[in-house]
Each structure stands twice: as structure tokens, then as C-alpha cells.
């Protein structure tokens, strides 16, 4: 039993990595198509990033620099845990700086800084099927994709507008990739959808429990579904980040006290720190300085 502790580089055995790489290649060849793969049990629970971890494990090499974020932040517990996992099993360099990373594994956000050609963004995906909540059966949804039968999705969005006056989908907002497949961008806020379009970086999506991998190759069209008279729009925040003053970024709402005090700060912690290091000051920091 003492031999238990030996695991291969990046945990997975080489055969498994090869199988995953094949699935990734197929996914890249057919942008937005969900490729079934023989997902393995990982030493973290399903639903906690096993798909993303398997992709990262399959593509990571000793010279890679890894960044892991959850909710945009490097220091959320699950991001810390996944980063520590790769430090342990692959002994790779890690970073919190978006610009320095070669692989960025993410849950729920796309970094604010524009990604580059030498970077891969790995998404953790809970439910890869954009049609799942309209049709629970995999046998049906695969048929719908094959026939490019996406009417149901448009009806859903239309019903949103009829009922609420607007499209009531705020995250995991469906996109059409390269004019063919409707794809779930994972539960990122729709604020991030435009960043996927014609991105310089390769985007890989892994769903471990659902055993699917899909991809958006660099410079691929990613269009959020909408209607001519109800065009797609992203969330806007009334105020800039209270710490770094950034506008046009996604903000987290932080409750400050029990009297309704609240503030808005960058969800992307690296972006916020970087801006502050470059002398940008938000309202709250300015007040502190004045006091």
C-alpha cells in the first residue's frame, strides 16, 4: 500500500491524456460541438471542476504557467485547491497574473484583460448542453443539434420577452459558434460573452460529470442569440469599482454592514490589483486617503 502515493505527471496516466487530447482535437475541428469523452474519476468531486481539471491535466507541460480562477478571483477556495493540486501533481509554475499565464482554468468568469495567442482558457462546465433545460433527454438534444433545430431556444428567449419585457437569461447565455452549433458558454455572466468572439486565445470547455469536451478555436465567431428588435446586451453597472475605479468591468456586490451599506468591486481580482499598482484609485480608496 505504500506504493499508493505514486501518480503520473499531472495525475492522469498517459493513455488517458491521449484519449482526452484526441477529444480536444476533435472539438477544435468542430467548433461548439460537444465531443463525448471517457471522463475519469478525479480526486475532486464531480461538479467541482473535474472536466476543466482533466483538460488542464491533458494539455499541461512542465514549462506551462498556470492560473486558476473561480468567480474571477485567484483566491477563492476551489481555485486555491485546484492550483495546489497541479502544483502537487505536476510541479508547474503558477501565477495570478493573467498576462503571465499560458493556461488559465476558470469557473464562471473570463478575465478582463484581453487574452493572447499563446494562451489557453479552460472552462469548467457543469451542464454542457444549452438545450438541457428545454429538453432533458440527451437522445433528443443530440438529434436537435444534428438537425440544427434550435427553434425551441428562440421560442424560450421570445417567451422571456413576452413575459418580462426582456430576455431573462443573465448567465450561461446561449451562443452560436461559427454559424453552426448553439453552445453553452458555461455559467459565465453574459457580460463575458463578447470576449469569446474572435478571441486570440484557444478556449476549451470540459464537463467531467457529463463527459463532454467542446472548444472554440482562436478567431472564431461567437454570437449571442438575440432578436433584431431585442438585440443582445450585457449588464452595465452604475458605478465604477470602488477600489480601482475601473468601468466596463464585471463587479461583485459586497455588503459592508447590516444597515444596507454596500460597495461594488472588480470580480477579476488580478485586474483590480494591477490597476491599483498602476496608480488607479477608486472612490473608496480615495476617501480613505483623504481621511
Amino acid at each position: 500500500m505504500s506504493e499508493l502515493a505514486t501518480y503520473n505527471f499531472a495525475y492522469l496516466d498517459e493513455q488517458t491524456k491521449r484519449m482526452i487530447r484526441r477529444a480536444i482535437l476533435k472539438a477544435i475541428a468542430i467548433p461548439g460541438y460537444q465531443v463525448p469523452f471517457a471522463s475519469r474519476e478525479m480526486p475532486m468531486p464531480y461538479g467541482w471542476g473535474t472536466g476543466g481539471v482533466q483538460i488542464t491535466a491533458a494539455i499541461i507541460g512542465p514549462k506551462d504557467v498556470l492560473k486558476v480562477i473561480d468567480q474571477g478571483a485567484d483566491d477563492t477556495t476551489n481555485a486555491v485547491s485546484i492550483r495546489a493540486f497541479f502544483q502537487k501533481v505536476a510541479n508547474v509554475a503558477v501565477t495570478t497574473h493573467t498576462a503571465d499565464a499560458t493556461i488559465i482554468q476558470t469557473r464562471h468568469r473570463i478575465p478582463e484583460a484581453k487574452l493572447k495567442e499563446n494562451q489557453v482558457l479552460v472552462y469548467q462546465v457543469p451542464i454542457p448542453e444549452p438545450l438541457r433545460f428545454l429538453e432533458p433527454r440527451e437522445t433528443e438534444t443530440r438529434k436537435m443539434h444534428a438537425l440544427e433545430e434550435y427553434g425551441l431556444m428562440h421560442v424560450k428567449l421570445y417567451e422571456d420577452i413576452a413575459r418580462n419585457g426582456r430576455i431573462a437569461t443573465t448567465y450561461a447565455y446561449p451562443v452560436k459558434v461559427a454559424g453552426r452549433y448553439v453552445m453553452d458558454p458555461s455559467p459565465t455572466p453574459k457580460f463575458d460573452n463578447p470576449k469569446m468572439h474572435l478571441s486570440d486565445a484557444l478556449q476549451l470547455f470540459g464537463a467531467g460529470r457529463e463527459k463532454r469536451i467542446y472548444a472554440v478555436p482562436p478567431y472564431t465567431e461567437v454570437v449571442s442569440l438575440d432578436f433584431e428588435d431585442h438585440p443582445f446586451e450585457v449588464q452595465r453597472f452604475d458605478k465604477p469599482c470602488a477600489l480601482c475605479g475601473a468601468e466596463e468591468v464585471y463587479l461583485d456586490e459586497v455588503i459592508l454592514d447590516d444597515k444596507g451599506g454596500r460597495m461594488f468591486v472588480c470580480s477579476d481580482t488580478d485586474h483590480c490589483e494591477d490597476r491599483r499598482a498602476h496608480g488607479h484609485v477608486g472612490a473608496m480608496l480615495a476617501t480613505e486617503a483623504a481621511e
Partner: protein
């Protein structure tokens, strides 16, 4: 001022240190040993082996200890180890007729070749708490008789002689046995993959589904043809040798459910079968598995599919405890980015709603004036 939340790393390491402390518990008590778990919590160990699909009592016991007795956590630990093991090959089909039987009961025949053997069962015990187990009171040795070592025919073979029961399931000759752990699942599945999924499926889930078929949701009129528990040899074909070698015995529980069947457009009136096979001693699981297996054959036998237990995609997609627990428990991970998006939407819709209501009120007031 507000400082962004930091310290995930230190918090995790402290939490794990506390977990290790709680796992060990009161240091004045001796730590529980792996061999004690194997010997005295055998059925817990068996369940972990079965649902992890790895036959190794010591490792399963280690997992039980490491998980503080949380069965699903233990199954998860053992699965995550199993998945890293290299695949040397595939064993030959087990010959359960050649089983060294410790227990064998049939509910369809009063007596039958090979006899009824009760074995180590909870059946017919009165479920009264036994104070003698509070102490280490001596326990009598069991009375055993030497094994006869003869092949014990299966109940299905008895019925088969009269042609009243369907044969063993058959797959096309060119069908390669699937491997759930190496190939992605696809629906509809062949029965080999379905049985693999059921064999590692959650005992509680299969129990409830099996129970539901008895209560009318996909009724299959079952009789326990036979349950047998004992040791069978595992044999592996070794390409270099050209013959099969024994890897040693494993303990399994096998259940054959015999189901009344009136016949359909696809099949004549006959008895049909549901099959269950589980590592170790686990009658409840083997019986549940065979009920669900039979229910899932509805399509193949031309029966109407009306109940959850007959719905392959529903059953197989939700039967795995490691998958279920992971996804349910992931809800405790932070979701504040998405929640922020929803918060924003609800606030906006609320503003619209209130604006609409106020406008409506104004109109009413005006009309009244």
C-alpha cells in the same frame, strides 16, 4: 475599509488539519485498525468495493477509515484511486455455477438441487439491540460443513429445461463488451453497459427504484429465483500463454429475479429475467439491481415505458453516487458572479413592476377625479 477576501489557502489547510483531528477523535482511545474494519465492518467494506468497482478489502477499509465512515466519501476515495490503475486486460466471464456457496436461497422452489443454504444472514433475527455487544464477550465458533465442491445448477437452468424461461441474454457475435470506465456513455445502451452502471450504482437509489416497481410504477411481477453468495475464481486470458490463469477468488452476490411475462408482439409468454451481481455480500443491492435491470428491459420486450424505473436515461444518468454527490454538493461553492447577474435582473424587473403599478394607480386616481 473593505479588504478583498483573502486567505483561502491558510483556511483550507487549517480546515484539513481540524478534519484530521476530528477523524482521530479522542486520543485516549486506541485508533481503529484497518484489519478491524475489514473483519468487523465487513459489509461496509463490501459496499465500498462494490460501488467503487475495485475489489480490494484493505484499500476499501482504508477509505472507510479516512472518510470517517461516510460511505459515499469512501467510495469516492477508492474510485479516484482505481481510475489511475493501468488496465492489463479483461477477465473471462465468471462462472457462478462453480461458486463455493456460502448462502443460496430460492423463493420459487421449496427444495432444489444444491439445497437452500441460509448462510450468515440477518434474516429471521429479531432486531433487538444486543447488550452483549457492548462488551467483548466471547463468541461461539460457527458450525461449518465441508464444501461439496460440486457445480450447483442455477434456478434459471431448471426452468430452461422446460423452455419456460428466456435464455441467457445474447449479444451479436461481433459485439465487444463495453467498458463504462473507458468509453463515454451513450443512450440507448446495450445491456452489458447498463449492468455495469447498475453494479456500481448507488444502493439506496436502486433500492428505491426497485421498490417503486413493486408498488406499481413499472410492475414486473418478480420472484426471487435465486440469490447466491460465495467465492468464484477470476480468470484472465494471458496472450503469451495461450490459456487462462486464475487470479484468485473473489466474493460476489448474485441474484436472478424471475418475472412473469404475458408475452408481447416481440416475445412469447414466458418467464423473463432480471440480473444482479455485486462484489462482496450485498443481497439488498443485488436484488434491487435485478429488479431495475428487468424494468429497464421494457423496451426490448415491447412493454410500455411509463415509469421512472423503466426509463434508461433517467435511471442510468442518476444512479452514480459519486456523480450525484459531487454535483449536489457543488452548490456550496461560490456562485456570486451569477447571483450578481440575477440580482441585477430582479432589481430591474422590480423597478419596471413598481413603475407600472404606480402608473396604473395614477390612471385610476385620475379616472376617479
Amino acid at each position: 475599509m473593505y479588504v478583498a477576501v483573502k486567505g483561502g489557502e491558510a483556511a483550507i489547510s487549517n480546515a484539513h488539519r481540524l478534519l484530521a483531528d476530528r477523524r482521530r477523535g479522542d486520543r485516549s482511545l486506541p485508533a481503529i485498525g484497518i484489519d478491524q474494519i475489514v473483519a468487523q465492518l465487513t459489509l461496509a467494506v463490501d459496499r465500498v468495493m462494490a460501488e467503487a468497482s475495485l475489489y480490494d478489502r484493505a484499500l476499501a477499509a482504508l477509505a472507510v477509515r479516512q472518510s470517517r465512515g461516510d460511505m459515499i466519501e469512501a467510495i469516492f476515495l477508492l474510485r479516484a484511486y482505481r481510475t489511475t490503475l493501468p488496465r492489463f486486460g479483461y477477465s473471462r466471464p465468471l462462472d457462478t455455477a462453480a461458486m463455493k456457496i456460502e448462502r443460496r436461497v430460492s423463493a420459487t422452489y421449496k427444495d432444489l438441487p444444491g439445497g437452500q443454504l441460509l448462510g450468515p444472514t440477518f434474516d429471521y433475527t429479531h432486531r433487538l439491540l444486543d447488550p452483549s455487544l457492548l462488551t467483548d464477550a466471547p463468541v461461539e465458533e460457527a458450525m461449518l460443513r465441508p464444501a461439496e465442491g460440486e457445480r450447483v445448477m442455477r434456478v434459471s437452468e431448471i426452468l430452461a429445461e422446460e423452455g419456460l424461461i428466456e435464455g441467457d441474454g445474447e449479444l451479436p457475435l461481433d459485439h465487444e463488451i463495453g467498458d463504462l470506465t473507458r468509453e463515454p456513455m451513450e443512450f440507448p445502451m446495450a445491456r452489458d453497459l447498463r449492468l455495469q452502471a447498475l453494479a456500481r450504482g448507488d444502493e439506496g437509489f436502486l433500492l428505491a427504484l426497485g421498490y417503486s416497481t413493486q408498488r406499481g410504477y413499472g410492475r414486473s411481477h418478480p420472484f426471487t429465483g435465486e440469490i447466491r453468495i460465495g467465492e468464484v475464481e477470476v480468470e484472465l486470458d494471458v496472450a503469451e500463454l495461450g490459456f487462462a490463469v486464475s487470479l484468485g477468488p473473489i466474493q460476489v452476490t448474485e441474484c436472478q429475479m424471475v418475472n412473469q411475462f404475458k408475452g408481447s408482439a416481440k416475445a412469447p409468454p414466458q418467464f423473463t429475467r432480471g440480473y444482479g451481481l455485486v462484489f462482496g455480500q450485498s443481497e439488498r443491492k443485488a436484488m434491487s439491481m435485478s429488479l431495475v435491470d428487468r424494468a429497464l428491459r421494457a423496451g426490448e420486450l415491447g412493454e410500455d415505458i411509463t415509469a421512472p424505473a423503466q426509463d434508461e436515461e433517467f435511471v442510468i444518468s442518476h444512479s452514480d453516487s459519486v456523480q450525484s454527490t459531487g454535483f449536489v454538493e457543488h452548490l456550496k461553492l461560490p456562485h456570486y458572479v451569477d447571483f450578481q447577474a440575477e440580482l441585477d435582473l430582479v432589481r430591474r424587473m422590480r423597478r419596471d413592476y413598481e413603475a407600472g403599478r404606480d402608473a396604473g394607480n395614477d390612471a385610476i386616481t385620475e379616472a376617479a377625479e
